[in-house]
Structures are given as C-alpha cells and as structure tokens.
C-alpha cells in the first residue's frame, strides 16, 4: 500500500507483535506474518486494516485484508481468513500497528558538513543536523533529535530530547520540551505584533521581551506561527497540536492537549484551558479565557470568554444550538419561507 520509496517497511512482523502494539486480542496463529497496512478496500492478505467508523462496516464483508483492527461488535463480520484484532480503540490501535510496520525515520546521528553550528552550542548524543541548518550561539539541542535541511535555531534556544524540526522551520527565543515537532516552515519565537502610535503619526515597536515555551510533545503545523511573549511568555501546554497556517499571538497560553485546526488564529494573551479544540479558520480576540474542553467551531469569531465544556460557533460566536436555530431562521428568510412572512 504505502509507497516503499517514501515509507520503508519494518519487514515481516508477527501477528502477536502487531496485536500487542495495537492492544488487541485475536484468535489465530500468532506467528502469521504481515508486511503493511491499507484501507479496507485496498488491503491484501499481508496487510493490516482497521474499521473505526460504523459507516464503513459494510466494507468488512468484501475486504481481502489479512487482519482488521476493530471493536468487538464487528468482530463477527470479518470474512473467513481475515483475523479480527479486537480493541475498544481501533483508531489508536491502528496508529500503533501502522507505526510498528512503517516506523518513522530514525535520526542518522551527525552534523552535516554544510550546517553552521556555533562553537558553544551543545548538540545531544544521537542527534542529526541536516544540510544548511544553522544553530546559534549557546543553543542546546537534546538527544536523538532530527533537525532537517535549512532549519534555523536562534541563539540560546533550548530543545529537548527526541524533537523533530522539519526542513525550513525556524525557532528563536524559545524553550522546547521533549518530543516537540515543528513541521516545515513553522515559525516560533518571532516578535509579536505590538507598537505604540507616536504623536507625529508613526508607530514605535514595543520591545517583545518574552519567550515561547513549548511543552512536551507539542506539534506545530507547516507555516504556522507562534509569536514570543511581549512581557512574560507564550506557552503551549504539553501535547497541544497546531495545524498548518495557524497564528498564535504573543502571551497566549494553552493548557494540556489543546487542538487548533488549520488557519485558525488566537490573538494576544488569550488563555485556553486543558483540551480546548479550536476548529479551522476560527478566530479568537485577545485577553479571553476559554474553559477546559470547550469547542470553538469552524470559522467562529470569539469575542467573549467561553465556559468549560461549551460548544460555540458563528461570527460573532454563540452557543451551538442557538446558532443553528438562528441559521434555520436566516435560511428561511432567504428562501422566502418562514421569517417575517410567517411572523406577520
């Protein structure tokens, strides 16, 4: 399934090992070997597939996959010859099985001769520094990291162990935890957008004297931007994930496990508590507090605090139910049915 030029395979792997990785139980030969993964429609006898969405359960009867990771309720529907790998979390189980069969590239330790690494920078054991990378004075890079081609790490930046900085990403004025991933072109630690108007109509930059702190396992998407704090720091809590082209203003703070989807933006000093989700293209103004597990809908425009466990949508945002009722009325206005006609 996966193109072997881009995704080298681990080689034949025992069913028992796959089930172990996936946290799944099964009946059958633990020594049966598998070599890859694939979707139900395309997987063959040597591949592992999965069923997570009951919408696709109908595909089970026809699949040629050698094994399928799925919930117990569907185990009876796999064809003869296909192993049911049963787990309450099939999507997570498949992620782990896929990683076992197609492990991500390991670092090739060493510093490419074209990289420019400051004399007093510290590079941890087993770390790979790619071509044309630039590491500034006093920077400290952890162990087992991969810094891709063209990556720039500014002076005094600290990067934890097992981080991956993909090509063209750049970071300054920042401290990164363990296992952080910066996707291509991600920008971390640049000046925030702050300035004071002068009496003669110019703008004077407010010095941006804070940092960016990225917790363990934070991921920042391609061409996304995280500005450093103005005073104090911009902080992304452990496990927070930003998708591509997201904008994070100075002094934003997120809790643990927040998710910000593509092209969304969060203005300065707004706080997201744990496990907040911000959907694509949403925008949050500055100085807000978004409660834990709140969910901000796609394209929402949020100008007020949002309580914990609350879903909002719309621009300006409102609770989800209210929004859909209002939209139904609005559509009725447009369609000439309902709305004022009905009212009168």
């Amino acid at each position: 399934m996966a193109d072997p030029r881009f995704f080298p395979a681990a080689g034949p792997t025992r069913l028992a090992d796959i089930a172990g990785a996936a946290g799944a139980s099964f009946e059958g030969d633990p020594d049966r070997l598998f070599t890859g993964v694939g979707p139900l429609q395309a997987a063959g006898p040597d591949d592992v597939s999965f069923l997570d969405n009951r919408r696709y359960a109908g595909l089970l009867a026809e699949t040629r996959a050698g094994a399928v990771i799925l919930a117990g309720a569907f185990a009876g529907q796999v064809p003869a010859g296909t192993v049911a790998l049963v787990t309450p979390q099939p999507y997570l189980g498949f992620a782990r099985a896929a990683r076992l069969l197609h492990p991500p590239p390991a670092p090739v330790p060493g510093i490419h001769p074209t990289a420019v690494v400051a004399a007093d920078a510290v590079v941890g054991e087993g770390t790979e520094i790619g071509p044309h990378a630039v590491i500034g004075a006093g920077a400290r890079i952890g162990r087992g990291c991969i810094l891709g081609a063209q990556v720039t790490v500014g002076p005094a930046v600290e990067i934890g162990d097992h981080c991956r900085l993909l090509p063209h990403s750049s970071v300054s004025h920042a401290i990164l935890g363990e296992g952080v991933v910066l996707h291509p072109g991600a920008r971390i630690g640049q000046e925030g957008f702050g300035f004071a108007p002068t009496p003669d109509g110019r703008f004077e930059t407010m010095p941006q004297l804070g940092r960016v702190i990225l917790g363990d396992f934070v991921e920042v998407g391609a061409n996304a931007c995280v500005d450093r704090g103005s005073q104090g720091d911009t902080v992304l809590g452990p496990g927070t994930r930003l998708d591509n082209l997201v904008q994070i203003g100075h002094n934003v703070r997120t809790g643990r496990g927040c998710v910000v989807v593509g092209q969304a933006g969060i203005a300065g000093s707004t706080v997201l508590e744990d496990y907040v989700t911000v959907a694509a293209q949403a925008g949050l103004t500055g100085h807000l507090r978004i409660g834990a597990q709140a969910r901000i809908g796609a394209q929402a425009g949020v100008m007020n605090d949002v309580p914990a466990k609350t879903d909002v949508i719309g621009s300006p945002s409102m609770p989800v139910r209210e929004f859909w009722r209002a939209m139904a009325k609005l559509k009725a206005l447009g369609g000439g049915r309902g709305g004022e006609g009905k009212a009168g």
Copy 2:
C-alpha cells in the same frame, strides 16, 4: 513600462509576431517594432496594451499605446496611429504577447557549488539548481527545471520537466508532473493532521503513509500547504492553481483546472471535481464532494456536498440567491427597516 532590471525585454519585436502570439488580426505594417507592454493610460508608441473590461473602454480614445489587443467591437475606437489587434480573447492574447516581449527567465543549466545533491539523485539536462538547495537521496528532477535558492527536495521525490520551484519551497513524499510551479515557501508533502487520543489523555500521531501527486502545470502559491495523504494520496489535477496561504488537507483530490484563491482551506478527503473555484478565505470541511464547475464564494463555510455548476456562499453556505435575500433581510433588521417591524 516594466522595470528592465527585473524584467529583461526580448528586444524589438515585429507586429506580425506579436499578433501571431496573441492570435489577433490587424491592419498595418507587419514589420513595425514593439519593445514592451503597458496599461492603456501609461503605454507609449513602442508598447502593446490591451482592453478586456468594457468599463475601461473610455481610456481607448486617449491612449498613446502603439497597439491595443481588444475585441472586434472596440476596434473602431483606437486613435489614429494605434494598431487594433483584434481577438475574441484579449486577456489571453495579451498574456501571450507580454510573454513574447518579456520572456520569463530561462534556466541557467548547472548545479550551484553550495547545493547539496545526493549522489544517487538524478538531475535532468538543462536544469538549474540554485544556491543552498538540498536534493535528497534517489530524487529525480526532470529537464529544463529551475530550482531556486534554499529549495529542499526530499528523498525519492519525482519532479517532471520544466518545473519551477521558487526559493524556500519544500517538497517531500510527492510526485510532480510537468511544468509544475511552487511559489516561494510553498510546502508540499508534509504530514497531515491526524492523531488518536489515548486513554490517558495524550494524542498519538496516525502515521501519514500517502503521497502528494501534482498533475501537469499545477501551481501552488507562496506559503501554501499541501499535506500528503494518510493512506492513499492527496491529488491535485492538471492545471489546478492554488493561491498564497491556501491549506489542502490530507487525501483531498481535485479534478482538472480547479482554482483555490488566497487563504482558503480544504479539509481532509474532500473531492473537487473539474473546474471548481474556491474563492478567498473560504473553508470546506472534510469528506465532501464538490461538483464540476461549482463556485464557492469568498469566506464561505461549506459543510455539505455541492452539486455541479452551483454557486454557494455564506457560513454556513447556501445557494447564492438565497444568501443575498437573507442578507437583505438581515441588513433590514439591523437598519430598523423591514424585518420584525415590517412583519408586525
């Protein structure tokens, strides 16, 4: 008109050759020479101009342009001494004439000494590789390409003939057709945004094991992002054009000649059939099908399939007519006229 430091001219060019390029008919001296192009208000006797929008027809009487590419209906309005170059497609004709008079830079074949090209990479005849470019193991670059400064091409990537990768663009896990253009900072082939929550509140990355396939003559704008497939590929059909800062999620597929304007985003697995237009800042959720020649309006939020040849706008999106009726009612509500007052 065009600054010669940035846009070298081909030199004096015969009217007959310009008309040939433009697909235009004319009356006059086929050997008259022209050296540049310019807008109607600024062009001089040695310049070629054009009229495409009838709104600007009033400028014809005053133009000093030596020749004007226009539709037959306006040919009678050019001043004496100005040649009317008549074609049913003046804008296309002008594009071709301008390209004749100001040809784009040709590749300067060779690999810059600071570029890092893997020993087993294949670089086609007549291709230019710029300073500090990085070409990974097993990559194959076609003939007559230009790869600008700082470009990164990942291992095993295939690039067709006559492609242009502008400075700072990066591509991995991808196969590019002929004549593909990546504008500065475009990101192709990075991991999509996919992960599974774990029982203890972390996220585990779903391995992204697909590729990006860019058809012939696809163009990707500055700092735009095209994620690779999760399983299976992300595919942009021949001639599809993305503007700057566009986001394309994993497993999106577009047909032939789709256009996605600045800052729009398309979420994972959505399919655009041929010649779909997505206007600026619009957003499409995942797993949708947008029919051929549908047009998605600026800032639209599309959450449902759109039939072929249908125009939608609004967030959430609705058919264009319905939207404008609803907006008129909404404005009336805001203005205190119409709306509930009128209804009551």
Copy 3:
C-alpha cells in the same frame, strides 16, 4: 524579568535617562539606577513598569516596581518608594524605556563565509549578512542592515539603510525603503495570481511585470505574503505594518501607517488610504477604495468601497452599529426570544 540569555540588558541606567527616553517627568533622585522592565505584578525595585489601561489601576497599590510610567491622573496612587514617571502617552513612553534598557541586537558587520553574494551586489557599510543567505546579481543592500540566516534577496532588489530581514524571509522584484523589517518567512515580490483561460480549458499565466515598493519603516509579519504588481507596482506606504500570515494581492496600494492584522487578506488592486486598520482574518475583494482612517472589523468580508473614518464589520460587511443591531436580532431568533415571535 526578561530572560538575559535572549535579551541582553544595557546595564544599570539612570532614572533621568529613562525619563528622558520616555518623555516623562518625575520627582526623585535622577541618579537612581534601573536594570530592567516588567509588568506591575512582577516588577521589582530595579525595574521600570507601566500603567496604560485603567482596568489595571488597582495593581498600582501593590506593585514593587521601582518606577511606573503612567498618566498624571494615576501618579498619586503609586506606593512610597516607587517613582511615578508621568507622561500623557505611557504605552509609547514604556516602549522607549524598554528599548533603552534592552536595546535590540545591533548588526555585527560582515558577510558570513557561507553566504552567497553576487559579485556585483553592493552591501552597505556596517551591514551583517547571515549564514546561508543568498544575494542576487546587482542587488543593493543599504548600511547597518541585518540579513539573517537563510535570507534570499533576488537580483536587482534594492534595500534601504537599517533594514532587518529575519531568517527565512525572501524578497524579489522589490525596492525597500529605510528601516523595513521582514519577519521570518515573509515573502515579498513573488508572482501575483493572474491567468487567462484558454479555449481548450487550460490556464495561461499573465506575466506579472510589476514590482513591490515598501516605504520606510514598513514591517511584514512572519509567513505573510506581498505579491508584486501585474503591471505597475504593489505599494505599501511608509510605516504600514502587516501581521503574520497576511496576504496582499498584486497592485494593492496602502497609504501611510496602515495596519493589517493576522491572517487578513487584501485582493488585487484595492487601495487603502492613510491609517486604515484591517483587523484579523478580514478579507477585502479587489479594486476597492478604503478611505482614510476607516476600520475594518475582524473576519469582515468587504465587497464595496468604505468611506473615510468609517467602521465596518460582518461578512458581507456593514456599518458597525447596523451589524450589532442585526446580530442582536439574529441571536434573538436563535434564542426563541424577540425576532419573529416578538413580531407576531
């Protein structure tokens, strides 16, 4: 307060000098020394703080800051031992004091040995060119500039004195004034989005033969894009500031001191007169004129000209008051109160 690894301090500085920079009057010992800056809650006796927003006036009584820059009305509220630095513009005053205590890095003159600088490029006195930077043929860089790592400057580009091009920014086909700042990954001068459909269903690129002109002290945010003109130039007037991920289409022109906030986009040929503000994620279609000091709200969608000194918001945009009235009605529709129910 500021992490000294990232923000070196100027060293102990006299109160009189700080007051001079801030344009503030004070009572007390002009020779008292200060070493840093900080917010009211965190500043200590050697730090300068400020109060700009009356909402935070309550913090004054408890602050341990050695001096506070504030308006005269609040001078009586500072604790004993804290110096009141009085000015009508505390925010501007603080920007200047902070810059005195933490001066931005000065250029380290010279060209890094890994930079590729064309033989006929001109680099001004006192300018720093970083690792792996690329300067094209005939480019002219002014005095006292800093060009960071991986920066690309295209052929014939002109850059004024005291500009800062942060790492990974790129510029082509452009002329930059004095004191221009390009933040990391900013893209200046690439082709605009223009093409003509052909009769057989392809697109042909319209040659983009204009330039980008950036006035003195223009700033362009991280990963923001400014396309060059199609014919004629794209022009950003003196002091105009673009935030991160902003998109500026070909032939846009702004006046003096315009502000475009994160992820906003302005389509081709639109004109902003002096001191226009475009808030985050707003979009303006092409060929509009936005009058001086107009303010476009966050996420607005502007499709018509806006008169001077007018505030608009909404998509499609409308005057601010009208919008909020309409939204109140819309919310009432959603909430089942007001709207049609009330009307009937």
